[in-house]
Symmetry: C2
Subunit: 222 residues, 2 copies
Amino acid sequence: MKRIKILKPVLVSNQQRAKENRSVFDKTNSLVINIIASPGAGKTSFIKNVVEHLKKEYSILVIEGDIRGQIDSRAISRLGVDIVQINTATECHLDAYMTAQVLPQIKKKYDLILVENVGNLVCPAEFEIGEDYKLAILSTPEGDDKPMKYPLLFHLAKVVVINKLDLLPYVDFSIKEARTAIKRENPKAVIFEVSAKTGNGFEEIYRHLEKEINAKKKKNTD
Amino acid sequence: MKRIKILKPVLVSNQQRAKENRSVFDKTNSLVINIIASPGAGKTSFIKNVVEHLKKEYSILVIEGDIRGQIDSRAISRLGVDIVQINTATECHLDAYMTAQVLPQIKKKYDLILVENVGNLVCPAEFEIGEDYKLAILSTPEGDDKPMKYPLLFHLAKVVVINKLDLLPYVDFSIKEARTAIKRENPKAVIFEVSAKTGNGFEEIYRHLEKEINAKKKKNTD
């Protein structure tokens, strides 16, 4: 199909630009996480929890990707961390070029850079931005079959967060089925079960992130 | 940006192909609805409800768009209606060319053709497939701000179904805010409030669809 042929050079060129972004992030020892999920799966709530807990000890930057508006940026900026907004206009994902455009705005060293991608399970997975890894969020009302239906993201995501456990009694979602479906795409995926609304399950995520932030710092100062 | 320049001719060419599809559908008096929503918002459940209620009186075809697999097709085929599956592989949406490829498989006249697009609020809105109109589904766990954040779909959708009203007590979602946000994008949008799980609110949708099916029949026999 024609469109695929056109898109290939774009993806290759994007990957090259992503590598350049990555080397910029690596120079500042920043752990960069590309957060990808469906609209309303809880990306912003996830970020808010992490920021609130880790901001005292670590310097954090949030890069907010939205087609339009700054609703999430405003909510997160109230927590007192630095934010950069990217509005993609018609684009359904962030890419390495958009990310490169915001690099000059990053004036200081951050321990952790959380990137909230556009709400979409498909395209954001195709475009690297220079991240250390992708983190996927799957919320229980979406159903436990989504890793099977949207395989690329779950194949690539190093971490998968199953969110909205508070809704489990009211929706058709089996944690066991979801875990099996995720592991089928990526046997090495690290899976967390949380409720971003109540905060349940986040302690494990905080410990995991702290370990990763410290490892990244160590790696680059070796 | 380069990518946008590349994409424009693709969209123009797609629109031309969509018109050709549309004239094929019009010849058989079929009402064609392009159903677009986030992953897990309830597209399949919506279709199941409509099929179960209308299949006795009307002939219905379901076109299932998925990146991979046939989970939804299998579920719907148990209801005894005809189904055509399109697997898009890496594509995040159906387009007019994919739809054209299944036209030869459509051997009889259908009153209603329900097309379940890939779960995605962004790209499917950009590609016409030859539909009479787009129907968007917004589920309450996604949040009432989604029409503002994903404007194109809500600008184009003639009908918007607010689904998962059964979860309303457990999620942060205001019907009033959602209605305002939808109307801001498209003041003429027809909005329904339903629970595809309990069936609540579907009577109005059935009446609306019956009216439209009959109008389409009349229009083409005039």
